[in-house]
């Protein structure tokens, strides 16, 4: 059994071993600390000054990463908490992403900005956010997110192959969960990964009552809801988990579902789900029976106290209720 954080760690080790052009920067990433979430453990010991602990300078380290990338290297920058990527917004949006196109010819900027995101850990309003939505629709910028189904090494290779900056979100609760292996989720559900999208299904159900679309950090809450929906409400769902959040890859099988629901951790308003619905509506217009259901965190700061935080963020019971209601 491999935890997601360990899996990411192994992927970074392999990546830096096979590609001497890869550099990694971030606060407290060096050994023995190995990063706030231990994802970079062992890298500085093994790869020397290709791995650097930086000052508290999110804007500048994103810029330094972009500079390394501009000069022919590949850079991975870790932002300790995704919330602080706000401090790097200018470097990412106005330099790294734009530079790939604003000089009238393609300029490669192979830069991956890793952002540990999400709540449900009681870290409070400035250490729990899912800021994916703020980066959607920036020309030249792609958004990816870790899932428990996708091989992280393949995702890093995929992001670098784009030659353009990518944000890579890694849910902080997901870190502690295990990677799924061998196509099996549990006694009920099976999964397959095709390209950017993981698909979780019930054996033998070709036409699910509902297809749920989530990002990696929402997988377990969605699976919990799917189990209850099946066993208690007799509603069969399938789950689609794109590792690339933007631009959205082709999501398979939706035409055969009675309903579509998109669930995310970002706060309400200008959401990733709204963007998914925008992409899906023209495609599914003739087969949709009702509007796509969009679930997000409340339009709210994320409280520190767990009993308050729980209410603001999407929990599995809310997913279940929303789907039951939509289908009733």
């Amino acid at each position: 059994m491999t935890r997601v954080s360990e899996h990411l760690n192994h992927a970074l080790h392999d990546l830096m071993e096979t590609d001497p052009d890869v550099h990694l920067l971030g606060e407290d990433v060096s050994d023995p600390y190995g990063g706030a979430f231990k994802v970079t453990r062992g890298l500085s010991t093994r790869f020397g000054d290709r791995v650097r602990s930086t000052p508290l300078s999110e804007g500048a380290i994103a810029g330094v990463g972009a500079g390394l990338a501009l000069a022919g290297r590949k850079a991975i920058v870790e932002i300790m908490f995704a919330d602080f990527v706000a401090l790097a917004f200018d470097q990412i949006v106005n330099f790294a992403a734009k530079s790939t196109a604003m000089y009238g010819r393609p300029v490669p900027i192979p830069l991956v900005v890793r952002c540990p995101s999400g709540g449900n850990r009681g870290y409070g309003p400035t250490h729990s956010q899912s800021p994916q939505k703020h980066f959607i629709g920036v020309p030249g910028l792609s958004l990816f997110e870790m899932t428990p189904f996708h091989d992280a090494g393949e995702l890093f290779a995929r992001m670098f192959a784009l030659g353009r900056p990518c944000l890579f979100f890694e849910d902080k609760v997901l870190y502690t969960r295990r990677m799924y292996e061998g196509g099996v989720v549990d006694d009920l559900f099976r999964y397959e990964v095709a390209g950017d999208v993981a698909r979780v299904r019930l054996d033998g159900v070709a036409e699910p009552d509902c297809a749920i679309v989530v990002h990696g950090g929402m997988v377990h809450r969605a699976l919990d809801a799917m189990r209850v929906l099946l066993l208690e409400d007799d509603i069969a769902c399938e789950l689609l988990v794109p590792a690339r959040l933007h631009p959205l890859p082709e999501l398979p099988g939706l035409e055969r579902a009675r309903h579509v629901c998109v669930v995310e951790d970002g706060s309400e308003g200008g959401t990733w789900g709204a963007e998914v619905a925008r992409v899906l509506h023209p495609r599914l217009w003739s087969s949709l029976r009702r509007p796509i259901t969009l679930l997000s965190a409340a339009d709210s700061v994320i409280p520190a106290a767990p009993h308050l935080e729980r209410e603001v963020l999407v929990q599995s019971a809310r997913i279940r209720d929303a789907i039951v209601e939509a289908l009733s």
Binding site: G124, H127, A305
Partner: protein, 313 residues
């Protein structure tokens, strides 16, 4: 510019040489903060607290020294390591613990938690570097009133560009801003030498901002040393950077201390707690016990309270 004041009477970490006894109220406050922080770590281990917390173990004397130099109208901005800053300003340990535990009576309904407290003229936030521009704005608003804005930041926070943008404006516009730098030589796991080129003093000097370095660990001594400087911030309306050479006796947050045993021992050797216990066994032992028992009662009482209620806007 660096202001020169008479050298402090100086104590060595090991030596008793000329250590003045702390006043009883100061000792009470020091020990209240100490036991508050130790209790938090214990509650964490017992699974009673969630999220994270940053204790100020070893650094308690800084806000305690400053407490009497600040007035009711002064505005304090604090950071992630802010429990001591708060308790030295407001004698409300119940409210603070309730905030950290998400219980009834919480200062901010349990929304902010350990790192995000806004109570009277005290405000903390968990994003490093954010506070200094805000403190400059507050100081601008206070300019001419005799009150000042006081912002606590760590040495590591000097990595953030906003610190410099704020210092520049603070000096340009002559605002009454007291920047208290708790230079404990480390940021999370990274030693200052590995993340700061040059010195805080030179950085302040680059903006013509007054800078003063405090090496004393004695509350009374520090107060005497700083009183005329803080008065100058108010009267002349100008920023001042006071840099404390200090030591973090505990982990960064809960259990994440990767320092070597020697480094940890060095920090512990500067801790006022053992030194005072040795030098002033009475009243230390008595006050220590009283404060420990008080915090135990506070923790038991607050733990038993119902969860905090919050009306979402």
């Amino acid at each position: 510019m660096t202001v020169t004041v008479p050298a402090p009477t100086g104590t060595t970490p090991s030596g008793a040489r000329r250590t003045p006894p702390p006043e009883p109220e100061d000792l009470e406050l020091l020990l209240l903060i100490r036991h508050f922080e130790l209790t938090l770590l214990r509650l964490f281990e017992a699974g009673e607290l969630s999220g994270t917390t940053h204790t100020c173990l070893g650094q308690e004397y800084i806000p305690v020294a400053l407490s009497r130099l600040l007035g009711d109208d002064d505005f304090v901005l604090s950071n992630h390591r802010g429990h001591g800053h708060f308790l030295a300003r407001h004698a409300e340990p119940y409210g603070l613990l309730a905030e950290i535990m998400g219980r009834e009576g919480a200062l901010c309904a349990g929304v902010g938690g350990s790192q995000h407290v806004y109570h009277r003229h005290f405000l903390s936030t968990g994003v490093q570097g954010e506070s200094l521009p805000v403190a400059t704005g507050v100081a601008l608003a206070l300019k001419g009133t005799g009150a000042l804005a006081c912002a606590y930041i760590g040495d590591g926070t000097w990595g953030e560009g906003a610190v410099y943008e704020a210092l520049n404006m603070a000096q340009l516009w002559r605002v009454p801003l007291l920047v208290v730098v708790e230079h404990n030589g480390i940021a999370q796991s990274t030693p200052t030498a590995a993340q700061m080129s040059g010195r805080v003093a030179a950085r302040a000097a680059a903006f013509d901002v007054l800078h003063h370095r405090v090496t004393s660990l004695e509350v009374g001594e520090i107060r005497t040393e700083l009183a005329p400087l803080v008065a100058m911030v108010r009267q002349d309306s100008r920023p001042l950077v006071v840099e404390f050479a200090t030591h973090r006796a505990g982990p960064h947050s809960k259990g994440d201390d990767t320092r070597s045993p020697e480094e940890i021992a060095l920090a512990a050797a500067h801790d006022w707690y053992d030194r005072y216990a040795r030098l002033f066994p009475e009243p230390f032992a008595r006050i220590d016990r009283e404060r420990r028992e008080l915090v135990e009662r506070i923790a038991a009482e607050v733990t038993a309270r119902p969860p905090s209620a919050w009306e979402r806007p």
